[in-house]
């Protein structure tokens, strides 16, 4: 371990470690309820679950300030929660209710929340790369010290926009971190069939520093993110962080039969051997930060929090019909 990373690891204090655990659990339990809503036919449309990838959103957002910016994807619940969103308002949005973050206009794929620096989830693959880079541009222009994080799946590496903004971000030394969540699949196609060459080399070709991290290890993600974010904030320019991960369930909640593109065994291996919550829980126990009974109690507490949020969302009303024509123009 280099002295620098040792220092970073040390920065992951007991308090932070426990908070990270709770946050990952909240994302997992949030999505448990999303799936439940889908199977009970209570949720309109579809949703893309983040289960298995929690350590990335949490590791990165723990290294950000509340005012820092994030942009998210169609698989965005984890990013929103990790950045500080409230489950009640998220579930209300998922059900298209007035109380939702976007008055029900956005739904699962478009949650946005200025109060937590969330510029919005995006249903166009790669669609937020310009937006995140633009937020970094304004940070530099206004000299306000904010950093922008652009979350995207490895499928978005196919979008030309990425290479345009990487080039500009490096030329102009913009404080933006491009976080590539490689969960191995672009929908139903393995990424190796769509991605030539070395992923990080795409960033380093522009002189953008690139790092790779185990996306199942929240502490490792946090440590790397902290370095890159602090550096960007200090004027060091953009960075690219490749996080290797896996989505546990289908591309979306309706993608049930997956055997034609990946094996049950592969899914099982990730779930049992590389689960970010389990791994981090073991670490907490090993460090003596907590005990098993406390973790179990936390799980019930968080599950109850999410169930209550769902109940809130179900009970709260739809927007008034007049709202359909509101918000088209500012």
């Amino acid at each position: 371990m280099t002295p620098q990373t040792e220092e970073a690891v040390n920065m992951f204090s007991k308090e932070l470690a426990l908070h990270a655990y709770r946050q990952m659990l909240r994302i997992r339990m949030f999505e448990e309820q999303v799936n439940e809503l889908y199977t009970r036919a209570l949720m309109p449309g579809l949703a893309h679950l983040y289960s298995g990838e929690e350590a990335i959103a949490v590791g990165i957002c723990e290294a950000l300030k509340k005012e820092d910016y994030v942009t998210s994807t169609h698989r965005g619940h984890g990013h929103c929660l990790a950045k500080g969103a409230t489950p009640n308002l998220m579930f209300a949005e998922l059900l298209g209710k007035e109380a939702g973050y976007c008055h029900g206009k956005g739904g699962s794929m478009h949650i946005a929340d200025p109060a937590t620096g969330n510029l919005g989830a995006n249903a166009i693959v790669g669609g937020s790369m310009g937006i995140a880079t633009g937020a970094a541009f304004s940070s530099k222009y206004l000299n306000n010290g904010l950093v922008a994080v652009c979350f995207f799946g490895e499928g978005a590496l196919g979008q030309g926009l990425l290479y345009e903004v990487l080039n500009i971000a490096q030329l102009w030394k913009l404080p933006v971190i491009y976080v590539c969540e490689n969960n191995l699949y672009n929908e139903y196609t393995h990424y190796s069939e769509t991605t030539a060459g070395d992923i990080c080399a795409r960033a380093t070709a522009f002189g953008v520093k690139a790092e790779t991290v185990d996306g199942q290890d929240v502490q490792a993600v946090y440590s790397k993110a902290k370095q890159l974010i602090d550096d960007a904030r200090a004027g060091g320019g953009p960075a690219f962080l490749l996080c290797n991960t896996y989505r546990y369930t289908g591309h979306h909640v309706g993608d049930i039969n997956r055997e034609y593109y990946r094996t049950k065994q592969e899914e099982q291996e990730w779930k049992t051997g590389r689960d970010p919550i389990q791994l981090h829980g073991e670490r907490l126990l090993h460090e003596g930060f907590t005990d098993k009974a406390t973790l179990d109690a936390l799980e019930s507490e968080v599950r109850e929090e999410m169930k209550a949020a769902v109940e809130f969302a179900i009970a709260t009303p739809y927007p008034a019909l007049e709202e359909v024509e509101m918000h088209v123009y500012a």
Partner: protein, 332 residues
């Protein structure tokens, strides 16, 4: 068209059959798109094609719409007949430079020397609770550009016959499929081989009091409204242009002249849209025979909202069309 049998296919099956037949006939025809091979597209429209034709004819691409559409343009110029799959019509925006500045103009700019025989298949239509970036009907954008042809079928039989023609055409063609019709709409499809020429509208229901000019998903809406109108003694004619460019102006105008009233209904936005253009064509051509203004009915002028009660307001319904038609007929 050969005799229709009692064979019924879904819209998706009809599209797939057209592609399979053309791929069997012509080894130059190939498919490019995201998750088109083993997955058969997320809408399962292309299921089975890779099994028959292999991955040398059905190409799974990276998520690079501009890139693979551009490749299709170049491939079409140099001896291939690519059929590009753009999963959601909303992603057309990513292909626009390739379609508008490249594909549409190459034949003209080269003084007729190069040709771009390609088809871009994509979707339109809201109502899936998919929100603003997965629900748009952007076909009017393409109709605006000289050099492109735009096909917008409303039935399985039309989809099959028109897609076959499109694949054989020498020009870049955009082919729009309503994603709600893929598996929900079934209809008779002739068993034998047939094609349908571009630029020929079809009267889907004969009537005498009012013409409902409808496209794609809105044809079913118009037929439903026509049933409702019949109950109150109004005889509505439903006309489907089937291709927006080339446009069968004569059939639309003749219908309006005959009935003296017309409403144009299309799922795109009305503002500067398909309904505006068709209404102008009818107004100009049938003005002296009309008993009222030609009305337009399209999507509400808002990004499509996610919330179900709001989304339902944005798309024209049978009831809205019925009310508008009834009112128009009572005025004169």
């Amino acid at each position: 068209m050969p005799d229709t049998t009692d064979r019924e296919l879904t819209f998706a099956q009809a599209v797939r059959e057209a592609l399979a037949e053309e791929m069997r006939h012509d080894s130059r025809v190939c498919i490019l798109g995201e998750d088109v091979a083993e997955a058969g597209t997320p809408f399962k429209v292309l299921s089975g094609l890779v099994e028959e034709f292999g991955t040398n004819r059905v190409f799974d691409t990276p998520i690079s719409e501009a890139g693979f559409t551009g490749i299709a343009v170049g491939a079409a110029m140099t001896g291939i007949r690519p059929v590009v799959d753009i999963m959601f019509g909303d992603f057309l925006t990513l292909t626009m430079d390739q379609m508008v500045n490249q594909a549409a103009k190459i034949h003209y700019m080269s003084g007729g020397k190069w040709k771009v025989p390609m088809v871009l298949r994509t979707t339109l239509g809201a109502s899936r609770r998919s929100a603003a970036q997965h629900s748009q009907s952007l076909h009017a954008w393409l109709c605006h550009v000289p050099g492109l042809k735009v096909v917008i079928p409303s039935t399985p039989a039309d989809a099959k016959g028109l897609l076959k023609t499109a694949i054989r055409d020498e020009n870049p063609i955009i082919f729009f499929e309503d994603k709600m019709m893929h598996h929900k709409l079934k209809g008779p499809v002739p068993t034998g081989e047939y094609t349908i020429p571009l630029g020929v509208a079809e009267v889907k229901r004969v009537g005498k009091d009012i013409s409902l000019i409808a496209t794609s998903s809105m044809v079913q809406v118009a037929l439903g409204a026509a049933d409702m109108l019949a109950e109150i003694g109004i005889s509505a004619e439903v006309v489907d242009p089937r291709t927006l460019w080339p446009l069968d102006e004569k059939t639309l105008i003749d219908s309006a002249k005959k009935t003296s009233r017309a409403i144009v209904i299309d799922e795109g936005y009305g503002r500067y849209g398909v309904t505006s253009e068709l209404a102008s064509v009818i107004s100009e051509g049938a003005f002296y025979d009309l008993d009222g203004p030609v009305l337009r009915m399209g999507a509400m002028h808002v990004p499509i909202p996610f919330s179900p009660p709001l989304e339902d307001l944005t798309v024209p319904t049978e009831k809205m069309l019925f009310d508008a038609a009834k009112k128009l007929c009572s005025k004169s």
